[in-house]
Structure formats: C-alpha cells, structure tokens
Amino acid sequence: MNELIEQTLNDFMVPVSFLYYDGNAPAYVTYQHTDSDSVLAADDSIINYVDYYDFDVFSKGNFFPIIEALKERLTAAGFMWQPSRSSADIYEKETKYYHKTLCFAIERSN
C-alpha cells in the first residue's frame, strides 16, 4: 500500500514522507496507516476491508493549495476522503507550522 502512495505522490509539490519528516522544508506531508475495518464478511472470513490512512499536511504558509492537490491526486488513485475522520485546522505556536490531518480510506480485498 505504501508503494501505491509513494507512486501516487512521487512528484508532489512538497516532500512526502512515511511517518516522520526529517528535513527543513517550509511545507511537507507525512502519512501513516491508522485503522482498518471490515466491510464484507462471508463464511466467517473477511472478504473486503477498508484501510484508513492519515495524511498530515504541515506548512508555514497557506496550506489550502496543498490540501486540494493532495485530495485530487489521492482521489484519482482510488482513495476516498473521510471528512468526519479529518482534523480541524491546527496551528503549532512552537514550530509555527499550520497543520491539517486529512484521512483517506481505500477498500481492499483479502
């Protein structure tokens, strides 16, 4: 799954990193798997399930263009944006980064 994400966001407008970003870019995105849930089961086995991924956008400036671009790329790759699992707008005073978590789901077959 991480391979699909890496391929989808290969030439994205800001650096994209799994779990942790160790650079100094004024804007970057980290992603991680946060949850899974079964959506279809038969004969005591899970047939289909949903994987939830958080994409955390950190930016010292306007993060809305990054958010829109991220939504467009991931939706085109088969992810579904989950508004109810996404965060409010956050500002971190210590580091002066704006922060927004976008949650996306993708359905998988077992």
Partner: protein, 140 residues
Amino acid sequence: MAQFKLELPDDIIKDIQKIDKNYEQIFGGMVKAGAEAAQSNVKSLVPASWRGSEIMNCIHLTRVYRTPSDDGINCKVNISGYFYNKQGVLTPAPLVANVFEYGSTKFTKHPFFRKAFKKGQIESVMLQKQSELSGGLLDE
C-alpha cells in the same frame, strides 16, 4: 364494476399507531445506546497515560437532541471541559485529546477516538435496542 375492499386487521393498525406515537423514544434510545457503546470504546482505547487522570471525566455524552435541518435524532460522544493535570495545572481536555489524536511536528499521534467508532458493533447495539424499545415490532 368489480370492487375490492381490504381492511387491515386492528392489531396491525394498533402496532403502527404505537410505533408512530413512540418513534422519538425508540430512535432516541437507539442513538443513545450506540453512543454509549462508542463512549465505552473510547474509554478502553485511551492512551495509557490517561488512565487514573482526571481527563477521563471529560469524556461525555450529549443529551439526545433533534436537528431541524435534517430531522435527525442525535447523541454525540465528546471530550470537553477542563481537568487538572499531574502538575496541578488546569488544562483544556479537547486540546490534549487533539494532540493525541492528530499528533504534531514534535509529538507522534496516537489515534484512539476515531478508532472507537466501529460501525458493525454500533449498528448491532442500536438494532438490539430498537427491538427492545419497539417490543419487536420493527424487527425484520
């Protein structure tokens, strides 16, 4: 001209009237039961450092309420209010919950709130309550 007259039996009409009269109580009870299940999940999934802390008293349920815009009947789980942390500082609970749920540049996230809403489990609890409150009238 051929005519056909059908009369619904009285007991079916009475059942429909009973559901119509009690639907707010039935649906209100259902959403409350679902919210209680989610609240219980939240309490069991909180980070280890929360256990024994006053922040546990900040995990609340709202009352059951109606929203006129969609005629919905709702009951929500929320983390609200303030608590005294281990250093004795009065701290807003939603701020702490937010940092754990979504993380920050310096703090790794520990999602627990969103994980607590398991659709299958909540639906099952709500259907059980529906059967109980409607006396089985709304069972499939």
